[in-house]
Assembly symmetry: C2
């Protein structure tokens, strides 16, 4: 079972050996956030998933959990969850393992998307891979010599806080000009607002129709309808993202770079400027080495990655 802790819900999926999600469960975390209560709910959901396949939780190969935050992978500890208070040094893996009598592993959520895409998605066959998860924020994961790379203390892969525009947009981390600040959802919202202020764009009506809720999908819809301002926004985002990709390509000389996360759905609108930007900023040899692709597992990547984590560490 792969488990994906998100900002508003926890998704669980029973994954077969071919990386296919057989059935899923979703728990809302809008009201249930205390560790003990949430762990209990997750345990029950795992049991239900197992039972639906006619087995007990103890008969699962294991449970691989991805969580956004600071994780001690070896000890299965969640030091901190991003945007969720009350999670301080929670021994998530051991508590679930004791409860369900099966192997439990915890890792960074972007790491699980990375191993999912690497084993069963767009990164298949790669041995040196970089995965960006582009959503509200930007996360990432690294495959090095055919293994997930966690660095010296499980914190490797923080692609979102690479500073690429000193003095640029304010980031949630407190710094300015991080990749996340330049292309994350808050940047998209700011760009849309600026475009609406300038006028002459369909974005104004679309924003009005959604009661002011500005999302990447909204910008994609306008771009699909041929709106120039929306297309210019995606082109700018692609250029910034290209700097982030080029920097990592120069640094690690990977054979594959995967762009995942919810915003990757807008691939048709930013891909051309992303590629042009990578061409401009990456050096010839590493640029030619790296295949640049859109993630292929969609929102299932993290769950599938959870299962991969269990198998690979068996």
């Amino acid at each position: 079972v792969g488990v994906d802790f998100g900002g508003t819900n926890v998704k669980l999926g029973l994954v077969d050996r071919r990386g296919r999600v057989q059935c899923t469960q979703t728990l809302s975390t809008r009201f249930v956030r205390q560790p003990a209560v949430l762990i209990d709910a997750v345990a029950q959901a795992v049991q239900q998933l197992a039972r639906a396949r006619g087995i007990s939780a103890a008969q699962l190969a294991g449970i691989g959990i991805g969580a956004p935050g600071i994780i001690d992978v070896r000890r299965g500890l969640v030091h901190e969850l991003i945007n969720v208070s009350g999670w301080n040094d929670v021994p998530l893996a051991s508590r679930l393992a004791k409860r369900l009598r099966c192997r439990c592993l915890v890792d960074n959520d972007a790491n699980l998307v990375t191993v999912g895409e690497w084993r069963f998605g767009a990164g298949r066959g790669s041995s040196e891979l970089v995965c960006f998860t582009w959503g509200t924020g930007i996360g990432g994961g690294l495959i090095v010599r055919g293994q997930l790379y966690r660095g010296a203390r499980d914190a490797a892969g923080e692609l979102g806080h690479m500073v690429i525009a000193p003095g640029g947009r304010r980031c949630a981390c407190g710094d300015r000009g991080c990749l996340e600040a330049q292309v994350g959802t808050s940047a998209i919202v700011a760009e849309v607002r600026a475009a609406v202020r300038r006028g002459g764009t369909r974005l104004r009506r679309l924003v009005h129709e959604t009661d002011g809720r500005i999302t990447p999908e909204l910008v994609s819809r306008a771009a699909r309808q041929g709106d120039r301002a929306a297309r210019a926004i995606w082109a700018r985002l692609g250029r910034w993202m290209g700097i982030g990709v080029a920097n990592v390509v120069n640094l690690l000389n990977p054979d594959c770079v995967v762009i995942g996360g919810g915003v990757a759905k807008a691939w048709p609108y930013f891909a051309a400027s992303l590629r042009a930007s990578v061409r401009e900023h990456a050096m010839t040899v590493p640029r030619r080495t790296a295949r640049l692709v859109k993630a292929s597992l969609g929102p299932h990547a993290g769950m599938i990655g959870g299962a991969v984590l269990v198998w690979e560490s068996a």
Copy 2:
């Protein structure tokens, strides 16, 4: 024997098992640049070094060569040497090996500084290390899981061409705002010229005394004498370098970051602003994981690294 191909000379050193350079030879490449002639000169120099210790070249453990350029490590090929024409796909390793009847290996010069500092210098004991070589340009090398990391096609570690100031200073690579463009020698020269133009600095006299030859050492001399403009230049360089260091620290979560290369001698003048900048731009966990130190092997690092390369790949 470790061999270090530089811009103006080739340095060779006989290195003992403790990483100490027993004796050295230096060949000027100012006039001799054709591959066949230079390889011949290197072979003779190796023989002399061996003879001085009473052995033949064939009795050496091997020869490890560092070259600035694009290298195919497995095949021992130099695809291209930076700033030296006429070196296209030269099978440097096999030619020297045949000539001297001993094992020869070629790698990127910054990679050899990295393994030298890692095994015998400031990075001893580290298993996840990043080394910056700060000279005319900026190079770098990575140790990952206790091994030199070369990426998918021997091009990993290009720390100098990480874009940290889009639209910033023009780089030798053609791009703008690379780390190298912001802190390499050409940036230092530009900063000194601007300071001299503004006036009120000792730099004017120092530049005049050296017939206009502006070097990092000159800025250090002025800084040592308390010159405010010179100190401000080092502070700015340290801040830019700190962004480069922070980005790599966030990305790889290393346990050690080594600053090497000729400019590292100015450590007392830029270290404080470098550290402050890393504190500002790196995330808490990876920042606390990474020991930030000055390289300790000086100009011998590359030669010692050449010897390490031979031993480690035996």
